[in-house]
């Protein structure tokens, strides 16, 4: 620290430190946001490469490219990496960049802990990925790591998996505490709760969910560790435990986790649609209440993931109705977005294209979710490709499209340069076509009965699987274009104005582009 203190003068608009230590020792929310975003991009490409291996194997029936054991490791790591390494850190990165600027704060509330939250992640994923090279291979039990597959029948690397989940969880909890405290304590005078930008609201709720459920995940993996190595019987019926107990604990974490990955997307899309409709957002307060209701309901719907384990009938009915109730606040949001666009002066720059695609395709994913919520129907759909299609529709054109939309929308503010609109639109259309060609056919093969998590399938599923694989390759390789566009924008391009977008509202558009290293050293005026 001494070197930094020597360089430290009275002006607090000083720039970043030089060299690698800028990134290792930084306490700046913009630097940490950038680290998070690049890290998640790297994980997105690694997890994506695994998806390519999976789709290549499924291109034709029969075994062609990988061993079944390796296939299982691929689907497990693909899920874990995309969720914990791709989507979640991307949203935390966006929160880091945007929340302080949106509420008129100089930085996050606890800047050193912020740095720690990020730097845990590369180590956690190093451990997870290194398990590929361990004896017995990487975790192979699916990203949901159900007992006894993950306990009695797990490869030895499961211990490393458990501890890497532990430190990922610590990172998420610290990151979430930082966001909550920032929002509660650092708002500029005048930024009252109901004047907060919706992205800030969405992250306040998300952070609360994270603090509530990440410790439960830690509890679940701890019980696994004890069952495997120290003789407890939490998930073993022979000792009086129950493997279904694992699923209850896991999904008590897992369902709020689903909303952790979509609520920030709701916030982002609300901003983008408002800007490019050049209108006031329709129904601000109902948007807030909808997100709050979704968050509260997320704690009482977990067993809809386990309808086929043999729950008592009363439980099945309760969880069915509670789940369907979530469609109400979600519907409110979708109608609000549509109403915002209604009679607006719409233009379709790349962020808006991604945002509109989000509204349409996320709704498709939501509706297949409603189908899955119906107990008797779920008995048919459970563990088929219909489920795979459902959650990929809410996660890829849902969560990931919103992240891409956010990058296109705010990158002029971050870098000071406009991205290449022509290339951005090309990236959008390739992604849009790719994602639908990949996942829409999976509805059909799922309803026809193809089970998930198998490296081989019956001949009748061959055609749609080939279509799906072609779409996946298209989508996957289009993301290299995204990488190119981002690098090109960071390196140079047309200078962005401070306002950037004609209809953009909010404090982040009042500062210069690129945003200065320290934004607000005194609170801005907000009426």
């Amino acid at each position: 620290m001494s070197a930094v203190i020597e360089n430290h003068h009275d002006d607090h608009d000083h720039g970043p430190a030089k060299g690698i230590t800028r990134w290792l020792y930084t306490t700046n929310h913009k630097d940490i946001g950038t680290l998070y975003l690049w890290f998640s991009f790297a994980m997105f490409l690694i997890g994506g490469a695994m998806a390519m291996i999976i789709r290549a194997e499924l291109f034709q029936p029969g075994m062609q490219i990988v061993e079944p054991e390796f296939y299982n490791q691929m689907i497990t790591l693909h899920g874990l990496i995309m969720i914990f390494g791709g989507v979640m850190p991307a949203f935390v990165g966006l929160a880091n960049w945007l929340v302080p600027m949106m509420i008129g704060a100089p930085d996050m509330a606890l800047p050193r802990m912020n740095n720690l939250s990020f730097w845990i992640l590369p180590f956690a994923f190093f451990i997870l990925l290194s398990s590929l090279f361990m004896e017995g291979g990487a975790p192979n039990f699916g990203w949901t790591f159900y007992a006894p597959l993950s306990t009695t029948y797990a490869p030895p690397s499961v211990t490393f998996f458990i501890f890497s989940v532990h430190i990922m969880g610590a990172s998420s909890i610290m990151g979430a505490i930082n966001v909550v405290v920032t929002i509660m304590n650092m708002r500029a005078p005048g930024v009252t709760l109901m004047k907060m930008p919706l992205f800030v609201w969405s992250w306040l709720i998300t952070a609360y969910l994270l603090i509530a459920v990440m410790p439960v995940l830690a509890g679940a993996v701890t019980m696994m560790l004890m069952d495997i190595h120290f003789g407890t019987s939490f998930f073993n019926a022979a000792g009086g435990g129950d493997p279904v107990l694992f699923q209850h604990i896991f999904w008590f974490f897992g369902h709020p986790e689903v909303y952790i990955m979509i609520l920030p997307a709701f916030g982002i899309v609300s901003h983008i649609i408002e800007t490019f409709s050049r209108k006031q957002l329709f129904g601000y307060s109902s948007m807030v209440w909808a997100m709050l209701s979704i968050a509260i309901l997320s704690f009482v719907v977990w067993a809809h993931h386990m309808f086929t384990v043999g729950l008592p009938l009363a439980a099945e009915i309760f969880f069915m109705w509670a789940t369907m109730l979530i469609a109400v606040p979600t519907g409110v949001k979708v109608f609000n977005w549509v109403a915002t666009m209604f009679r607006g002066s719409l233009t379709f720059e790349t962020p808006m294209l991604f945002a509109v695609a989000f509204v349409v395709l996320f709704t498709i994913g939501g509706l297949s979710g409603l189908m899955l919520a119906i107990v008797p129907a779920d008995f048919q759909y459970h563990d088929t490709y219909f489920v795979v299609a459902h959650f990929h529709y809410v996660l890829v054109p849902g969560a990931i499209f919103s992240i891409m939309a956010a990058v296109y929308y705010w990158i002029p503010k971050w870098s000071g340069n406009m991205y290449d609109e022509r290339l951005g639109k090309l990236h959008f259309w390739l992604s849009f076509i790719g994602v639908n060609v990949t996942f829409f056919p999976q509805h059909f093969i799922g309803l026809a009965g193809m089970p998930r998590r198998y490296p081989d399938y019956a001949l009748i599923f061959a055609d749609w699987n080939m279509v799906s694989s072609i779409g996946a390759f298209l989508f996957g390789f289009s993301q290299l274009l995204f990488l190119f566009i981002v690098i090109k924008t960071v390196m140079g391009g047309k200078k962005a104005t401070d306002q950037v977008w004609e209809g953009a509202k909010g404090l982040e558009w009042t500062v210069a582009s690129p945003a200065p290293y320290h934004t607000f050293s005194t609170p801005p005026k907000v009426d």
Binding site: P215, S233, D242
Partner: protein, 304 residues
């Protein structure tokens, strides 16, 4: 540490050191646990070095925070951030215990009765005839597999009846921990009135009571293993009993350690002001939290 009304800290080396320490710690822990059967394995040294680095980093990090605080660099806003941060951290701890209590409630009210054939789901399980001899009770002294895979305990830690109540360790543990919550509160009152001596004395008593609690808990574990045959692998009762009380005991040690540090800071360095002592207050919040968890444990693990 800027001027103006906002606090913007300098760069810091502590976080990355902490991340490396955690990496060493979990790599060491994983490989140690995977090589428990291998006496030639030396991965435990990675674990030790992880612990050492973690403690060193925390020591210097907290020292830095305290120094900045004493130099008057903390704004009121930052102090408030610490308050919120600690409150949310305790909430996350509550949820961690909730997972284990949830597991306890689930096995007690659903899984164990079903395994013994109660209810419509139980009837379905019994129809498979895996373990027809198993009967539902709590504490479960026989496992469904009749101790095939698991060791059966002779005796549980449950309430022994009024006649033996005074010889029952958990009752004394409850008395010790409840008193310690009271004494830490008295210490806090003393500090708020500017009575340093009262603060030091009551905080000292609290730390002593924490040590007594940990000692009694160790004694209880010894009795369980040596005389009751109750072990971690005694089926689901042993699992829930040791994991809940074990994690609680671990948290008592952490809380007691925090309070001991606060005591040392007060006695040797004269830290904490009448109106400015959140470091101590945070530790005392944690202590009250640990106390509440114990009350839940006493009720649901021991009495009921």
């Amino acid at each position: 540490m800027s001027g103006g009304s906002y606090y913007v800290p300098d760069q810091s080396r502590f976080p990355i050191f902490m991340a490396v320490s955690l990496f060493l710690l979990v790599m060491g822990a994983s490989s140690t646990i995977n090589n428990l059967d291998d006496p030639t394995s030396n991965s435990v040294y990675i674990l030790y070095s992880g612990f050492a680095c973690l403690f060193l980093t925390m020591f210097f990090w907290f020292r830095q925070v305290i120094k900045e605080h004493l130099a008057g660099l903390d704004s009121n806003q930052l102090k408030q951030s610490y308050v919120y941060g600690m409150a949310w951290f305790i909430f996350s701890e509550v949820m961690f215990f909730a997972a284990f209590f949830g597991a306890l409630f689930y096995v007690r009210t659903l899984a164990v009765p079903w395994l013994a054939g109660e209810g419509s789901k139980g009837a379905a399980i019994t129809a498979i005839e895996l373990w027809p001899a198993f009967e539902s009770s709590w504490p479960v002294m026989t496992t469904p597999d009749q101790g095939n895979e698991y060791d059966l305990a002779d005796k549980s830690m449950a309430w022994p009846g009024w006649s033996k109540a005074l010889l029952w360790l958990p009752l004394w543990n409850t008395i010790v921990l409840l008193s310690s919550s009271w004494t830490v509160h008295l210490a806090h009152l003393g500090l708020k009135k500017g009575n340093r001596k009262k603060f030091n004395v009551y905080l000292g008593i609290t730390v002593l009571l924490a040590l007594i609690f940990v000692g009694l808990q160790a004694l209880e574990y010894y009795e369980a293993y040596a005389h009751y045959g109750l072990k971690l692998n005694s089926g689901i009762y042993g699992s829930t009993f040791f994991m809940l009380t074990g994690f609680h005991g671990f948290h008592v040690m952490m809380g007691g350690f925090m309070l001991a540090i606060m005591l040392a800071r007060s006695v040797f360095a004269g830290h904490f002001e009448q109106h400015d002592h959140f470091g101590f207050e945070a530790a005392s919040w944690y202590w009250h939290f640990v106390d509440v968890v114990w009350l839940m444990l006493f009720l649901f693990v021991y009495i009921l």
